[in-house]
Symmetry: C2
């Protein structure tokens, strides 16, 4: 007698994790984030929506932050580092792609939530720091290539240069201003690369 079960109830598949439950939980979590934001993102709500038991979630994710990070990693897809032959265009392509990615997918919202959560959760903070360091090191290759080409001087710090632009992107994401004018941005990067001094006289003071 399978008396007390509703027909479509997801159940155990033995002494192992049920991938269907895992998927349902991650999907429900992503949907809730998209529809109600971080404020509606509770374990209780995710369990309800996924038709999963709360113990199932707590068994596989230690906290709300852990689940959030998993959702984020699911969304994430590593974009290749641009290589146009010019550092100016590479940097422009990098920032533009980042803004487009954040604007056109759910990744932007989720990343905002991860940053927010990191301000009060140590685990998320550590994970965010690690992730950021990886991405910066990866993207800095763009600058290192330019150094090898002799396009820029050897004393330029690749990581710090990327961090400067990435930080700008962060602040735009976090204040909901992803509508950057491409021309303005291109000009800024050009000036950052070519320098801002007027004329070819880098010694005029006072």
């Amino acid at each position: 007698m399978t008396s007390t079960l509703t027909a479509d109830r997801r159940t155990s598949i033995g002494a192992q994790r049920n991938p269907a439950s895992q998927e349902a939980i991650l999907k429900a979590a992503a949907d809730i984030l998209r529809e109600t934001g971080l404020s509606g993102f509770s374990i209780e709500a995710v369990a309800r929506r996924a038709h999963a038991g709360k113990p199932t979630i707590y068994r596989w994710w230690s906290s709300r932050a852990a689940l959030l990070l998993d959702v984020y990693h699911d969304q994430k897809q590593v974009e290749p580092v641009p290589d146009t032959g010019s550092i100016e265009n590479d940097l422009f392509a990098f920032v533009t792609a980042l803004f487009d990615y954040w604007r056109d997918s759910e990744a932007g919202s989720i990343f905002r939530f991860v940053i927010a959560e990191a301000q009060s959760d140590a685990t998320t903070s550590a994970a965010l720091r690690t992730y950021m360091a990886e991405r910066i090191d990866q993207t800095a290759e763009l600058v290192r290539r330019a150094t090898r080409r002799g396009e820029i001087t050897a004393d330029v710090d690749p990581e710090l240069t990327i961090e400067l632009l990435a930080g700008f992107a962060w602040s735009r994401l976090l204040t909901g201003r992803l509508d950057v004018d491409p021309e303005q941005l291109h000009k800024l990067i050009g000036q950052m690369i070519r320098g801002m001094r007027s004329g070819g006289d880098p010694g005029a003071e006072q």
Copy 2:
């Protein structure tokens, strides 16, 4: 018979706001933020610590975010825009002062919480955007002065230039990496101003 009152209970002073309660609430809120961070910052906890009634808080602050913003504004003190005569040194002084301020006072922690709260609360988000626009416009004067001096070309966008550096500072604050090497930072700003191209050939295109 003042029977049910404990001796030091703060009470009404008539049909007007009690400044003592207001101060006690703001002080308690700031103390809680300093001691337990944003996670311990609840209206309930603030009321307990301030020996205030929850309705008193809700009467004067519409939400947790509103109270948080008030605490933040209390902490805030406007720093003068540096004016050393050189944009490079001005920018370095600006960023250094910002990092020192965030590191040495409670302002850094509170600002982090405001940014985090802004990711799920529309009121805080709007307030943050307004505040940031004000500060950027104010600091951009530093760049405008340099333009007037002829130190940099006229097509440099003052606000965007400040935003670039401020965004970098934000990302460092939000990832708990306020320990910037001054020399490294000074070099970065110098390169940003002077340009990164090797040689004195500012016209090589395509």
